[in-house]
């Protein structure tokens, strides 16, 4: 009877919502094409596995950064377009410290603090890597989180707090101003060049055998998995087991009611920025560690993918943000099987638009906590 029910439901969807039906058919066709490719050897299993692994890495960064965006989106009710530049700010703050610790005394101080604006000082030259310089990387990670928290609180105090009672669109436009100012201030101070932050020397990799080939897993990949999964579990614990988490959920649900109940809303907002900002800074640092380059618009370029993840997971749900991040990351990375490599991000955006159109409440809606 299960099958018949499903078939019936499918028939109803096909008649009532032909657009939804079309999307499902398209998705099914892609899966069939993928399976066919794997079966006939057109697509190597190891290629697919490499793409998926790459997607998971990207997804973890997106998910980590997405938690912060999702929290502020639901509690303060606005889409923060400056979030991407918080990522960049955290990355530069953290990497500045990593460079400083690794190269202190040997290289020009100014070049180290500015994360090697000209190519005479790069992460490869000074030999940064999680294996070669683990303490410098750890210190950088912590500073990235702390600096982003400070930045988020500062911006909130002077920019967003005076507008607390305004609508979401006013805040959205303001956040575009913040994004502009932050991004180009970073470019002004740290230079707008792309630099290499870590080389292969400090980042050993293994090639794991997988069916018909190998999948490369580097020490930075593993670090990213450990750090992000650890942080996600930490946030889970924080929001599920503490009063703060409950207060946040109450505020996201209904701010007036929360205030009437005696929840100190401003303090909850501050905590939101602290948790969200910290995770965002960590995400920025890990993004750079993983992709091994840094540039002033890294965060901005990631922002739309993060929005995609947050919307897909349902605004306000941290599990949604994580799952959405993984889905978006994997979609972007595996889409190279079908689309040219220049259009992988475009594909992820397209998936986001489809989700917004057909399930604007997110694919995990109704199951969200915090």
């Amino acid at each position: 009877m299960g099958v018949r029910d499903t078939v019936n439901r499918g028939r109803i969807v096909a008649i009532e919502r032909p657009d939804v039906f079309l999307v499902w058919v398209l998705g099914a066709a892609l899966v069939v094409d993928l399976l066919w490719g794997l079966a006939t050897g057109g697509i190597a299993f190891s290629t697919l596995a490499s793409n998926v692994w790459d997607g998971i890495m990207r997804g973890l960064v997106i998910g980590l950064a997405g938690i912060g965006l999702s929290m502020t989106y639901s509690i303060l009710n606005f889409a923060n377009f400056a979030h991407g530049d918080y990522i960049t700010a955290g990355a530069f703050a953290g990497w500045s410290v990593t460079y400083l610790i690794t190269g202190f005394g040997e290289y020009d101080l100014g070049a180290l603090v500015l994360v090697g604006p000209k190519s005479n000082v790069t992460g490869t030259i000074i030999g940064i890597g999680v294996v070669s310089t683990p303490l410098a990387v750890l210190a950088g990670l912590l500073v990235a989180g702390a600096a982003t928290i400070a930045l988020a609180l500062l911006v909130d105090r002077y920019v967003y707090r005076p507008l607390r009672d305004e609508g979401g669109i006013t805040l959205l436009i303001t956040s575009i101003g913040v994004a502009f100012a932050l991004r180009y201030l970073i470019a002004f101070v740290f230079d707008s060049s792309t630099r290499t932050t870590a080389g292969t020397t400090g980042n050993p990799a293994v090639r794991l055998n997988f069916v018909d080939g190998t999948v490369r897993v580097s020490s930075h990949d593993v670090t990213l998995v450990v750090v992000s999964v650890g942080l996600m579990l930490g946030v889970h614990y924080l929001l599920q087991r503490t009063k703060l988490g409950k207060a946040m959920r109450a505020m996201a649900d209904n701010e007036d009611l929360a205030r009437v109940t005696g929840i100190p809303t401003e303090r909850v907002v501050r905590s939101t920025w602290i948790i969200g900002g910290g995770l965002t800074g960590f995400a920025g640092f890990m993004l750079v560690l993983w992709k091994e380059t840094i540039r002033f618009n890294d965060g901005w370029l990631l922002l739309l993918l993060i929005f995609a993840a947050v919307i897909m997971g349902g605004i306000g749900s941290i599990y949604g943000a994580i799952a959405g991040g993984l889905i978006i990351g994997i979609v972007a990375s595996t889409s190279v099987i079908w689309v040219p490599s220049g259009l992988t991000e475009a594909t992820a955006f397209l998936v986001m638009i489809l989700v917004l159109l057909f399930r604007p409440e997110g694919i995990f809606s109704g199951r969200s906590t915090a």
Binding site: F78, A79, G110, V159, Y184, F188, I311, L343, A346, L357
Partner: protein, 437 residues
């Protein structure tokens, strides 16, 4: 306190057109006077005025088109740049000479007449507006924002894509050029226009006379620039007229009603979705036209000319002027172009003319270190050398300041009522009626 009207009161009661005239006067005067004081060469001066006028015009046009979306209908479109790109790419593909006629060009076109290309650019931008509006208008404002900006990035990635760098259309080899873009291998706008109007000879005579009278060498580039800018100002007037017409028509009143309360408009029997779609399409068509007029003059297009940054420029212009007011949109476009977009660059030119460009430090560290020895020189030169970045920081700060202090913009508080008659102008009833104030 009462009695003496304050400056702000005076501002509130001055007619819009007077404010625009005064602001424009101040802007041009400031440019000309500062140029003369610093001893800018005449040729550079005229060129600067031409550039200023050009950007005032394009930002006024963008701001007006955006005002139709946001100010009138309440549609939060941050994909402006996509429609500009679609317009000018359509035109480029249609009007570029075929490879058979210009084998040196990397990418060929269909070789159609330029007006056809321009019109097609507007039409295709409008059609894309329809396609985007079909699903997007069901969404909340913030979701519409994210969809439109994602659409603009999808379009940019598409134009960048190498696999459609060249393709065959109607049996002619053409393409979008990928990352290297497209070059307009057709006459520049003024050359084409003067030939098309059969005034090429008299125009060249005029250019020669202009050059000898003012003693400028090679005057053609300067005069072309100035004349094209003046033509764009005429297009701004046409845009303004069109939008005023739309705003005052029954159609425009429905749009304003949607902006104020969509449910009420629907309850009154208006098909709000259709009205929103029409408004979106018209605005997108106008944005396509701006793309055509702006980029055709540049001679070449590249996907990276169409970054989301440009969309936000248009938004800042609209917010400065005040959403909902067409006069405000023009004013906002002018102020944005003069102070935020061209101003810092012009100031940099003036300063380097006056004191020379000096030896700017390579990095921020090199600029800051001498400050310890109370030597601000290197820092000043560094600021000068990186003015392009600081300029955008400044734009961001201005946007934040406006949202804090004057979210309605300079003239936005005068956004016209949805009603056809002036509701504030109530006749005073003599026998016992309420007397206003």
């Amino acid at each position: 306190m009462s009695g003496e009207p304050s400056v702000t009161d005076k501002f509130e009661t001055t007619p819009d057109w007077q404010i625009v005239a005064v602001v424009m006067g101040i802007i041009y005067l400031a440019y000309i006077v500062s140029g003369f004081l610093i001893g800018f060469p005449l040729r550079g001066q005229i060129n600067a005025i031409g550039n200023l006028t050009f950007y005032v015009a394009v930002f006024a046009m963008l701001s007006l088109a955006l005002n139709l979306h946001w100010g009138y209908t309440g549609l939060f479109n941050i994909g402006v740049v996509a429609f500009m790109a679609i317009g000018v790419y359509t035109m480029a593909v249609l009007v570029k000479q075929p490879l058979s006629q210009d084998p040196t060009a990397q990418i060929g076109g269909l070789g159609l007449p330029i007006p056809v290309g321009m019109a097609a650019g507007v039409v295709v931008a409008t059609v894309f507006g329809l396609i985007v509006s079909l699903p997007a208008l069901r969404l909340r404002a913030d979701y519409l924002a994210i969809v439109t900006i994602a659409f603009s990035e999808i379009m940019r990635f598409t134009f960048l894509e190498t696999s459609i760098k060249t393709f065959t259309l109607f049996g002619t080899e053409t393409g979008l050029g990928g990352g290297s873009g497209l070059v307009f291998n057709v006459p520049a706008p003024i050359d084409w226009l003067t030939s098309a109007l059969y005034v090429r000879g008299p125009y060249l005579d005029f250019v020669g006379w202009f050059g000898t009278t003012l003693g400028i060498g090679n005057p053609k580039a300067v005069v072309d620039n100035l004349v094209y800018s003046i033509i764009l100002v005429l297009v701004v007037v046409a845009f303004y007229w069109l939008l005023q017409r739309i705003g005052r028509s029954p159609f425009g009143r429905v749009l304003k009603a949607i902006r104020e309360d969509e449910d009420v408009a629907r309850a009154l029997g208006k098909d709000t979705d259709w009205f929103k779609m029409q408004s979106f399409m018209v605005g997108c068509g106008l944005m396509g036209l701006v793309g055509v007029l702006w980029m055709y003059d540049q001679g070449a297009i590249n996907p990276n000319n169409f970054r989301p940054r440009l969309t936000f420029y248009a938004w800042i212009a609209l917010i400065i002027g005040g959403a909902g007011s067409n006069t405000g949109s023009v004013l906002g476009g002018a102020i944005f172009a003069a102070l935020l977009f061209q101003g810092p660059v012009y100031a940099k030119n003036l300063v380097t003319t006056a004191v020379g460009s000096g030896s700017a430090p390579q990095t921020f560290a090199g600029a800051v270190a001498p400050l310890g020895n109370l030597d601000p020189g290197p820092f000043a030169y560094y600021v000068l050398g990186n003015i392009n970045q600081l300029q955008i920081v400044f734009m961001g700060v201005v946007l934040i300041w406006l949202m804090h202090n004057r979210p309605e913009g300079l003239l936005g508080h005068r956004s016209e009522e949805a009603a056809a008659v002036d509701l504030t102008d109530r006749p005073v009833v003599s026998d016992g009626g309420e007397v206003d104030e």
